[in-house]
Symmetry: C2
Subunit: 250 residues, 2 copies
DNA sequence: GCCAAATATGAACGAGCATTCATTCAGATG
DNA sequence: CATCTGAATGAATGCTCGTTCATATTTGGC
């Protein structure tokens, strides 16, 4: 399963994996712009409700009410309730796939890129914390084929991290570890903020979690050369306020 | 939230958190031994079915059939379907709480204890892989109070790891890291084997996962002194066949 | 061997919910 | 203005379960 330059085309226009040929959730309605708007409404309501109450405890009635539309309307844009779940999950995974590259824009130094990527990952996860947990809860409720779409989206996101690791190794900053496995240490670290938030928040802020955790994981990864550069980077960062910021403001 | 010598009493007799005063799931049936046997049957069937199909897609009918009992009988041992879920989840968490200390029996060296604990954790997770995923999927479906029982059980399991870390730090083998946070790196690593098995199995066996992962995490943790001991331990281990074994056979 | 008491059974009940579809509505077309 | 088309509505339908309970079966004391 080779993934090229992970996810290049996609993020060009709007938010929409929904319309990817593969996903192809049929709608009764022809007007593409309308479909996108309506599905946006529906999915936003659904993510919120599913996250709070879970998929099965949420009725289509609930979704319709929160989205401010009728029950019938939902069925014009979606074949069944499972479709709503798929769209909801993909919208979450897609926000990862958009935010990480956005944070990396213009960052060149491999070590900084690695930091920024994981930092950004943790922050999207935080901004969609409940939804991240939803993904863990509900992906298995999808029929096999649909589930694979979600998995594929996850792999594409991981690829951003993996690429940073490969880059670091190539530059002699990281030890030549197994990239696939190491990627998961970082991915689980980011997801962990959502998964274990109920406990971790008792002793740790997001910033602290990121700094401490990244420092821990990088310690395992850095070569002596990498370690030297890392100390410089940290000095630069804490001089800049302690929070990594993309140098390309928007 | 202080946890003493985590979980001492419990494992004396059978498998049963079920009868802990806190859990106190009422049963119509008086005979305690019978209750234990029947609940065992029911829970075993439930864990299997819930893991496969999810909680909501599994009917009580299904559970009854698989357990080889009638629908009515289940309601003699449990108040409602949610009770079955709680019992199922606690039985999973309880297997962690039993297996880790069992593996640690008789192991004294702090560094080895740390390795053995995480190794054992990964292996229980593997032996109950689907059930571990179930815990992530379904804990939130429990009402708040019940959910807290599950969380408490998880914290108790984590305490085995945390204790190993504290011990290593005390002996100057580990850097003086934040124990609570570091514990989660290890916990997520163990759970990760179940959560991401769909992907990781494509490039990695359990043994490889454990060795590589533990090596990675320990690298981040060890002091120079610890690192020296670690190299010795690894040498000893690989001489012994490469697989850590509890020195107390049973 | 007989009779309570304790267990076990599963048909029947009824609530909850996804999905449908007959109907209404808004705006474009000519 | 009359007509047509595509969107939107939500009451009605029908099915799927969780739960109950009247009844059957087993157990163990005498």
């Amino acid at each position: 399963m080779r993934i090229g330059n992970a996810a290049e085309g996609l993020m060009a226009r709007g938010t929409d994996i929904t319309m990817t040929p593969e996903v192809a959730i049929k709608s009764q309605v022809a007007d593409a712009a309308l479909v996108q708007r309506r599905r946006g409404q529906i999915v936003a309501a659904a993510v919120e409700l599913f996250s709070e109450q879970g998929f099965y405890r949420t009725t289509i009635q609930d979704v319709a009410r929160k989205a401010g539309v009728s029950i019938g309307l939902i069925y014009q844009y979606v074949h069944d309730k499972d479709d709503v779940l798929l769209l909801a999950l993909l919208s979450v995974l897609d926000s990862y796939r958009r935010e990480i590259p956005r944070a990396l824009e213009g960052v060149i130094d491999p070590l900084t890129r690695c930091w920024v990527a994981v930092d950004a990952y943790c922050r999207v996860v935080d901004s969609r914390r409940e939804a991240t947990v939803l993904a863990y809860r509900s992906t298995k409720s999808l029929p096999k084929e649909r589930r694979e779409l979600v998995m594929k989206a996850e792999i594409e996101t991981n690829e951003f991290i993996a690429e940073c690791l490969r880059d670091g190794i190539r530059h002699g900053l990281f030890r030549p570890v197994n990239v696939d496995l190491t990627t998961y240490h970082f991915v689980l670290f980011a997801h962990g903020w959502a998964l274990k938030h109920w406990r971790i928040r008792e002793f740790c802020s997001l910033n602290h979690y990121i700094e401490d955790g990244l420092d821990f994981l990088l310690t395992a990864l850095l070569t002596p050369k990498g370690a030297r550069q890392y100390r410089q980077m940290r000095a630069r960062l804490s001089a800049g306020g302690g929070r990594v910021v993309s140098p390309v403001p928007r």
